[in-house]
Structure formats: structure tokens, C-alpha cells
Symmetry: C2
Subunit: 241 residues, 2 copies
């Protein structure tokens, strides 16, 4: 069994790399100038590949959003043909649905887009995504993981149009990558899930850009802790640990 984890930011990935004892791969199997970084290791006899977006050449900042997530997932899926793909990272939570800083959600049901609007029959549904997540109910129950509906868009703020679509699916985790990774996983016939840790409260009093960096360290520590537990439990569940 082979699992691909896709993450956007180095700060999110660093504790995962450390806790799972993953090794950086200096020459990943893609073109040399492509910024995506690769880390590899094993959990029991399960192979684990972690692709991190890497940085934007111009700004030196971590690449974020669905286009970078698509690129990372494509490279990882083409190279490693994973059985399961995990989009792991941080998200905005919703106080009205029990969200709090550092709470970690395992995706449930379907993963949605909230910022793709194409009002043509058929294209409207395709634009919304709604990709099914893998059934990890047993694992989630064993671990006592919170479950939540994940929704994706390329903006950190919240427009009226985005909010309408987020509320329509009762999302728990608003983030910027999962649906893109889910779509790519589906192209390759791989299972998909997402694990998202809350850095900011969308329906709270503070703008996300203030809360995000303040809570990033705590949220990423929680994310790493739960991701390590999750991959160990998946390996055990598959008889590979």
C-alpha cells in the first residue's frame, strides 16, 4: 500500500517530516526547476510519499491554492500511483459548527469547491466538485477523530458568493487545496481524504490574516500529531504495521 500526502506550506509539513522520520529526496522524479519538494519514508510496510508545494520563485513565499495543489498532486500521482491521497493542512473553522483553534477534522462525505460558479446545467454541478472521500470511518472512530465537511476556494477572505456555497454544504473546514487534490486523486483511481487543522475562526471576530500566523504553530503541531496517528492507523487497518 502506498499513501501520498500533499501539503502546501513548509511550516505545515516540517513537524510531519520530523515525526514520521521522512527523508528529503534531492532529485525527485520531475523536472529540475519544478518547485515541488519530495519526502519519503515508511510506516510499517506502507510506503509514504509527501509532496510539498515549495516556494514561488518571485516572492520566495510558499505556493498555496488549488493550482499549486493540482500540480503537486499530479506529480505525486504520476510518479507513485498511490492507493490513497491525503490533503493535509490548515483551515478556517466555524464556531457555529463547533470549530475551535487547533481542532483537526478528517474529511467526511464529500469535498466541495465554494468559488467555482458556472451557471450552465451540468457544468454547475461539475464546478461545485463534491468529490467523495474514502471510507475511513473505522479508523476515525478508533482514533476519536473529529469529522467535518471540507470546502475549497482560492481566497482567504469570504465573499457573499463563497459564503452562500459554504453554508449550502454546512462546511466545517474552509481551506485552499483539498478539492483540487481530490479531483486529481480521482483521475488516477486513488482514494482520497483530507485532514485539516483550524488556524482561524471564519465566523469569529478576527480577520483570518490576523489569526492565521498567530495560531499556525499550534495548529500545525495538532495536525502533525493527528496525521501521524492517522497514517499509523491506516497501516494497521491494512495489516501493514
Amino acid at each position: 500500500m502506498r499513501v501520498l500526502v500533499v501539503m502546501a506550506m513548509h511550516a505545515e509539513a516540517e513537524p510531519v517530516v520530523r515525526e514520521l522520520g521522512l527523508a528529503p529526496v534531492s532529485t525527485p522524479p520531475w523536472a529540475a526547476h519544478v518547485p515541488m519538494k519530495l519526502y519519503q519514508g515508511r510506516v510499517g510496510s506502507m510506503e509514504l510519499d509527501l509532496v510539498v508545494n515549495g516556494v514561488d520563485k518571485q516572492s520566495g513565499l510558499d505556493l498555496i491554492g488549488t493550482q499549486a495543489a493540482t500540480a503537486s498532486a499530479m506529480l505525486g500521482c504520476e510518479a507513485f500511483k498511490p492507493d490513497l491521497v491525503v490533503s493535509a493542512g490548515t483551515c478556517g473553522g466555524f464556531a457555529k459548527r463547533g470549530g475551535e483553534i487547533g481542532k483537526v477534522y478528517l474529511a467526511e462525505d464529500r469535498v466541495w469547491y465554494h468559488d467555482r460558479r458556472v451557471p450552465i446545467p451540468g457544468f454547475d454541478a461539475m464546478a461545485r466538485g463534491g468529490y467523495m472521500v474514502a471510507n475511513l470511518d473505522n479508523v476515525a472512530e478508533t482514533l476519536g477523530l473529529a469529522r467535518g465537511v471540507v470546502t475549497t476556494g482560492d481566497s482567504l477572505d469570504l465573499s457573499a458568493e463563497d459564503s452562500e456555497r459554504i453554508e449550502a454544504v454546512g462546511a466545517h473546514a474552509k481551506e485552499m487545496e483539498a478539492a483540487a487534490v481530490a479531483w486529481v486523486a480521482g483521475l488516477f483511481g486513488a482514494g482520497f481524504t483530507a485532514l485539516k487543522s483550524v488556524t482561524d475562526i471564519v465566523d469569529g471576530p478576527h480577520p483570518p490574516e490576523e489569526e492565521f500566523f498567530e495560531n499556525l504553530k499550534h495548529a500545525t503541531e495538532q495536525l502533525a500529531k493527528e496525521l501521524v496517528r492517522l497514517v499509523h492507523a491506516i497501516a494497521e487497518d491494512a495489516g501493514l504495521a
Copy 2:
């Protein structure tokens, strides 16, 4: 010299395939279940690869938007290491800036996103894109091609937030793929341009979903005509024709 053309819809690609005499490749160099279609041919001694998104498994509809465009461009760039990448397709035009149905714009200056909003210093600029296009001024002048600023987002409609960003760059062509393709081309050190044909008038009286299909045939015929002229002129300019 090798040129990669990336297109979203089969209806857009069909006249291009026919006019350039491109041959479908039944086993493209990527995983079998990936929906992206490949056509190849030559223009003089210039090699030309055309990647079309292909269709969504669930709905049977053409894949559109920036995630599919990213995937197509990644596959094409990894496989063929092109010198130049062209995002070709249809767009919304703006009557107030001279747009009319069937008018074809060659990208000028920079290509933008209008639906990625990240209000954090540095990330805000990265989210807007602003990818430089290749200097094809001589070719454009020879051909008498209209020039226009291209802006990309994942919605066919126009929100207040999108409109604000479109007006900020004075865009001529509002479409759903170019910035994603430009970003990928940049990762691989390839040049980039876009060629976009107007199917609907954003600031006109009709909703785009009504105009789009009505004008698709005319717009794609104009697009094919200009794309054929453009690749021939590029081949000539490079001494390959």
C-alpha cells in the same frame, strides 16, 4: 523549437486539429486513466503538441477551469519541455474596451487572476498572478492581431470582487484557464502566451451562459483561423517554416 498548445474544450480544439492536420495520439505519455487528450504535428520544422483537457468521468462534460488547465499544462510540460506554451480558447469580452463577438486577442503584458484574494502582504501579489507573456510584438504586428490583457477565474459569472480586480487591470479577455497555464509554463522556464476569442460580452445585456453556446461555433472558427496564422508566423519568425 517546440510549442505546446493547451485547450479546454473539444469544440474549441476540433477546428485547430483539422486546420493544422494534427494527429491524435492514442497512448499519450501519461497514466492511462487521465482524461487529457494529445494531438501532435509539425508546422514547418516546429514541433507542435496540443493537449486538450478531455471530459469529466461523471458528467461526460469537457473539463474547464484552472485546475484542469494546470493538469494539462503540467503533463504537456513534463512530457515535451516546450519552448513556448499557448493557452488557446474562448473568453468574455468587454464592449467598453472594444470587445465584440469573434474578436481574437493575443495576450499582452501580463496575465492575471481575478478570483484569488489573499490579504497577507506578499501573498496578495502572488495570488493575483501577473505572469509576463512572451514578447510576440513583431509577430502580432505582422498578423494584425488585436492585443488584450487576459484575466482568469473559475467562474463564468461576475461577482463584485471579481469585477473590481478585472477593472484594476483593464482586462480585455475574461476566461478560465490562461493564468494557470502561464504559471505552469513559468515553472518549466517556457515562454507563454494566450490567444482568446470572444463568445460573450461581459458588460453587455445578455448573461454569458446564453451567449456562450450561441456564439461558440463562430468564436472557435475565428480562434482556429488566428491560431493557425500565429503558429505559422512563430515558425517563420524562428526560421523553421
